[in-house]
Amino acid sequence: MLNVDPVLALLSRALDAAALRQSVHATNIANVDTEGYKRLEVVYSAELQRLNAEGPALDTEQALQWSQIEPEVVESAETRVRLDTEMAQMAENAVRYQALLGAIDRTLGTLRYAARDGREG
């Protein structure tokens, strides 16, 4: 990624993760009757846990480091797919996705405001 605003970098990575979650829930629902299928889930790697232990990202460099971490899809410990649980989680994820969209929209708005020297319109 180019020299991007760290906030935007973090938000877009989070949006990617929410989109991945959406596709994993859709996959679980589609495979509810598949023989031998085991439920999938999205997890973050040990890398994030290491960064987490260091505390929250406060400076630009840490934020950009955080935004490099990619979520993984793994087989879940709960192997059975339950339709209602899956739907509830998907609905929750959709709300999170829209919240992220709103945050990205506002960040872009701030950048646009700065690019216009603070003039409206």
Partner: protein, 144 residues
């Protein structure tokens, strides 16, 4: 897989439920179908498979995110013994007066219909949610 791929996953899920519905409907419709010389309708069932399900291992095994498993349905006939009913006047009765009826279990077919409709609805709902998220993503940056 991008956001548009998610719609393919839910479509595949709906196709599977559609195949199950056709099999169940065919079984119910043919519950009393008879044939000459004891030939009989064989109940249908659907086998749902996905490419990755065969290789699935222990919990925590990572899966390629670009290649999430899509289910495919295959309709197969079940080898169920026919039900013999005594009906000597029936044109398809054998010399002992027995008629072979398909080994369809109407109760389990009706139960299948309920699970099919729930499965189809869930996939449709997932499709809808994804579509509205896509729509909102396209609207990003429109407020100026």
């Amino acid at each position: 897989m991008g956001m548009f791929g998610i719609l393919d996953i839910s479509s595949a899920g709906m196709d599977v439920q559609q195949a199950r519905l056709e099999a169940a409907a065919s079984n119910i419709a043919n519950a009393r179908t008879t044939g000459e010389n004891g030939a009989v309708y064989k109940p249908l069932t659907v086998v749902v498979r996905s490419a990755i399900a065969q290789e699935m291992g222990a919990a925590g095994t990572p899966i390629d995110t670009a290649n999430l498993p899509l289910p495919t349905a295959e309709v197969v006939t079940q080898d169920v013994a026919p039900k013999l009913v005594y009906d000597p006047g029936h044109p398809d009765a054998d010399e002992r007066g027995m008629v072979s009826l398909p080994g369809v279990d109407p109760v389990s077919s009706m139960l299948d219909l309920i699970s099919i409709s729930r499965g189809y609805e869930a996939n449709l709902r997932a499709f809808d949610i994804t579509r509205s998220l896509l729509q909102r993503t396209l609207d990003l940056g429109k407020n100026r």
